[in-house]
C-alpha cells in the first residue's frame, strides 16, 4: 500500500505518534502467524515454479519428440529409458507427470490470476460508480450484483460456457462474470463510507473532475478490502477453472491445466494408476490452500477492527 492520506482513526491514546511506515507495520503483523508465513513461502515457490516451468522441468511435456509412449503409465520413481527418473511417474502418453504439473500450474495460475484481476478492475469500477453516482445507476448495478450473487458460481459458469463453448478465453470470461459482483459490492460498501469523509469534501470544493475524485482519492482508501478479496478470488478462480476443465468444459486439450490433468488421469484411476490424477490434485490443493491461508491472514492484518 502507498502512504495515502489515512482517515483519522479514533485512537485511544491521542498523544502517540502515528506509524510512519504502514508497509513495515503490515509485514510485521503478518508474521505473527507461522502458518501464514509458511503459506506465503509455499505460494512464492509455487509461483516461481510456474514462471520457471520451461527451464526447470525435466522434459517439455508437449514436445512429442521427447516423450515415448512405450514409457506410458510408469509408477512414480521409475527410471526413464534415456536416463533420469520419473519422480511422479508418467501418464498414458509417457509424459513425465512432474513436468506436466509444472506446465499445468502455469496455465491454472495464468487463467485464475488473469480472471480475478480483470474481475477486480471491472467490479471495483462498477462499485465505485454505483457509490458515487447513486440513484438509478446504483440501483441497477446493485440489483445485478444481487442477482449474480444469488446464483451459485458453477451454474453461472455452466450457463456462459454452454452459450459460448469451450476455450481458454471463454473460461476466463465465465470466471470474470462469476467474480465481478463481489468486488462491486465490496467497493461500493467502502466507497459509501469514504464518500462522506472530509478529504472528499475538500476535493469536491476544489472542483476536481469526478473521475479524479473517484479513482485518485476514494479508490486508494478502498483498496485494503479489495486486496483481501482478490487473494481469495484468485483461489476461487483457480478451483473453478479446474472444476470446469475436469468436466470437459474448460481449457482445450492442447493447453492442459491442473484440472484437465486430473480429468485425464480419471480414466486410469479405476485400473489402479492413481498417480496420474493424484499428484496434479495435490498441486492444486497446495496452491489453493496456500492462497486461502495468505488471504485469511491478510484480512486479519488489514482489518482495523481485527486488532486484538
Amino acid at each position: 500500500m502507498s502512504p495515502t492520506p489515512q482517515a483519522p482513526t479514533a485512537a485511544p491514546e491521542p498523544a502517540r505518534e502515528r506509524p510512519t511506515r504502514p508497509l513495515v507495520e503490515v509485514a510485521l503483523a503478518y508474521c505473527h502467524s507461522w502458518l501464514a508465513v509458511l503459506a506465503l513461502v509455499v505460494l512464492v515457490a509455487v509461483v516461481l515454479v510456474a514462471i520457471l516451468a520451461p527451464w526447470i522441468s525435466p522434459q517439455n511435456p508437449y514436445d512429442l519428440t521427447v516423450i515415448d509412449i512405450m514409457e506410458g503409465r510408469l509408477p512414480p520413481g521409475s527410471e526413464a529409458y534415456g536416463g533420469g527418473v520419473y519422480i511422479l511417474g508418467t501418464d498414458d502418453q509417457g509424459r513425465d507427470m512432474l513436468s506436466a504439473i509444472f506446465y499445468g500450474l502455469r496455465i491454472s495460475l495464468m487463467v485464475g490470476l488473469g480472471a480475478a484481476l480483470i474481475a477486480a478492475t471491472v467490479g471495483t469500477s462498477l462499485g465505485l460508480i454505483a457509490a458515487y453516482a447513486g440513484g438509478r445507476v446504483e440501483a441497477a448495478i446493485m440489483r445485478l450484483v444481487d442477482l449474480q450473487l444469488s446464483i451459485p458460481s458453477i451454474l453461472v459458469a455452466l450457463m456462459i460456457l454452454a452459450v459460448l463453448g469451450k476455450g481458454i478465453v471463454n473460461v476466463m470470461i465465465a470466471l470474470i462474470l462469476v467474480e465481478w459482483a463481489l468486488y462491486a459490492r465490496t467497493a461500493r460498501g467502502s466507497a459509501l463510507v469514504e464518500r462522506n469523509k472530509e478529504y472528499v469534501e475538500a476535493a469536491q470544493c476544489l472542483v476536481l473532475p469526478q473521475y479524479r475524485i473517484m479513482f485518485r482519492h476514494i479508490l486508494p482508501n478502498c483498496l485494503p478490502p479489495i486486496i483481501v478479496i482478490t487473494t481469495i478470488q484468485v483461489a476461487r478462480a483457480i478451483a473453478l477453472e479446474a472444476t470446469l476443465s475436469f468436466l470437459g468444459l474448460g481449457v482445450p486439450v492442447t493447453e492442459p491445466s491442473l484440472g484437465l490433468l486430473i480429468s485425464n488421469g480419471y480414466q486410469h484411476m479405476l485400473s489402479g494408476n492413481f498417480w496420474i490424477s493424484f499428484y496434479p490434485g495435490i498441486a492444486l490443493l497446495i496452491t489453493v490452500a496456500s492462497i486461502n491461508i495468505v488471504g485469511d491472514q491478510l484480512r486479519d492484518v488489514l482489518n482495523p477492527r481485527h486488532h486484538r
Binding site: 452459450v163 478451483a239 490424477s277 490443493l285
Partner: protein, 324 residues
C-alpha cells in the same frame, strides 16, 4: 405480513422473468438459433420449414413472447438427443438429484452441527483445534478431486462400495428411489459424502461461530445461575439461538447442492440432472440447456423465498416492515 409476502412473491417473479430474458437472449442472440435447431445435414427446404415452424423469421420481441408463452405452459422445447420434451426428461432425472442433495444435506447437518458445537464449547481442546483445521481443508479441497480420492480408496483399493450408478431402486409414487434398498444405499454413500463435504465445513464453522458468540451472553449465565442443567442450557438456550443462521445456510445451500451435484454426478455417473446438463452441453443439446437453466433458476428463487418466509416465522425479531 400478507403484503410483505405478496411483495416478495412479486420480486421473485421479477427475477425469474429477468432470467428468462437473459437465457433467451443468450441462446438467440449470442448463439445462432438456426444452427442450434437444425441439424447440419438438413437441406434448404427443411431449413426453411423449420425456420418458419419455430418462428425464427419473426421479430425478436415476438419470438421472446412466444418463448415466454411456451415456458408458462411448461413447454421449453424438445431435446434433440432424447426426442422428447426437455422438461419431461429433466423431471424423470430430478428425483435422483433430489435424493442425492437431501442425503448430502442430512449428512452435513448430522456431522457439522455436533462437531461445531464441540469446537465452540471447548475451543481450547486439541480435538476442537483439529476439527477447525480439518474444516479449512473442507473449503480448500476441490470437490471433484475428493470424489476421485473416495473412488480410489473405497471402490478401487478397499472394494467396499461401488463407484458408479444408482444400484437397485424402488418405485414410490412414480419416482425411482435408491435409499430404500441396501444396494441403493451402498451406491448412494460415496456421492452423498462427496457432495456433503463442503456444506459440512460451512455448517461446522457457522455453528462454532454462533456458539462462541452466544456462550458469553448474560442469559446463558442467568440460566446457569438459575440451576438449569447443562444439557438444557446447551440443548435449548444455545441451540435455539444459533439455529437461525444455520437454518438459513442449510436452505440456501440446498440450492447450491443441486447446482454442485453437476460435479458429483459426473464423477459417480449418478443419473440425475447434473450429469444430464453436462452431457447436453457436450453434445450441444440447446433446448435441454435452456430447460435446465430455467428450472434451476426457478428452484433457486423459490428456495430463497421459502427461506425468507421461514426466517420471519423463526425469529420474531425480524419484522415484516423492516426491509433488511
Amino acid at each position: 405480513m400478507t403484503v410483505w409476502i405478496a411483495n416478495r412473491l412479486m420480486q421473485a417473479f421479477g427475477v425469474v422473468l429477468v432470467m428468462t430474458l437473459i437465457v433467451f437472449l443468450a441462446v438467440n442472440v449470442i448463439g445462432d438459433p438456426i444452427e442450434m435447431l437444425i441439424s447440419p445435414e438438413a437441406d434448404q427446404m427443411e431449413r426453411q420449414r423449420i425456420i418458419a415452424l419455430f418462428g425464427l423469421d419473426q421479430p425478436l420481441w415476438r419470438q421472446y413472447l412466444a418463448f415466454l408463452k411456451g415456458a408458462v405452459q411448461g413447454d421449453l422445447g424438445r431435446s434433440f438427443v432424447y426426442g422428447e420434451p426437455a422438461l419431461k426428461v429433466i423431471f424423470q432425472r430430478l428425483p435422483a438429484t433430489l435424493e442425492l442433495a437431501v442425503s448430502a444435506s442430512l449428512i452435513s447437518v448430522a456431522v457439522g452441527l455436533p462437531l461445531g458445537l464441540i469446537a465452540g464449547l471447548y475451543p481450547r481442546r486439541g480435538f476442537s483445534k483439529a476439527i477447525m483445521a480439518t474444516s479449512i481443508l473442507g473449503f480448500s479441497l476441490p470437490s471433484f478431486w475428493v470424489g476421485l480420492l473416495l473412488i480410489m480408496v473405497f471402490a478401487v483399493y478397499l472394494g467396499w462400495l461401488p463407484s458408479s450408478g444408482r444400484g437397485e431402486t424402488v418405485e414410490v409414487l412414480g419416482m425411482h428411489l435408491s435409499f430404500l434398498t441396501l444396494d441403493g444405499l451402498r451406491h448412494l454413500a460415496l456421492p452423498a459424502i462427496n457432495l456433503a463435504i463442503f456444506n459440512t465445513a460451512v455448517i461446522l464453522r457457522l455453528t462454532r461461530a454462533g456458539v462462541s458468540e452466544v456462550m458469553p451472553q448474560e442469559y446463558i449465565r442467568f440460566a446457569r445461575a438459575k440451576g438449569v442443567s447443562e444439557r438444557r442450557v446447551i440443548g435449548i438456550h444455545v441451540l435455539k439461538n444459533i439455529m437461525i443462521p444455520v437454518v438459513t445456510v442449510i436452505g440456501l445451500e440446498f440450492g447450491a447442492l443441486i447446482a454442485f451435484s453437476v460435479i458429483t454426478e459426473s464423477i459417480f455417473a449418478w443419473p440425475g440432472i447434473g450429469k444430464l446438463i453436462i452431457d447436453s452441453i457436450n453434445v450441444l443439446d440447446r433446448p435441454m440447456m435452456v430447460a435446465y437453466l430455467m428450472l434451476v433458476v426457478t428452484l433457486f428463487v423459490t428456495v430463497n423465498l421459502v427461506i425468507d418466509i421461514l426466517y420471519m416465522l423463526l425469529d420474531p425479531r425480524v419484522s415484516a416492515d423492516g426491509k433488511d
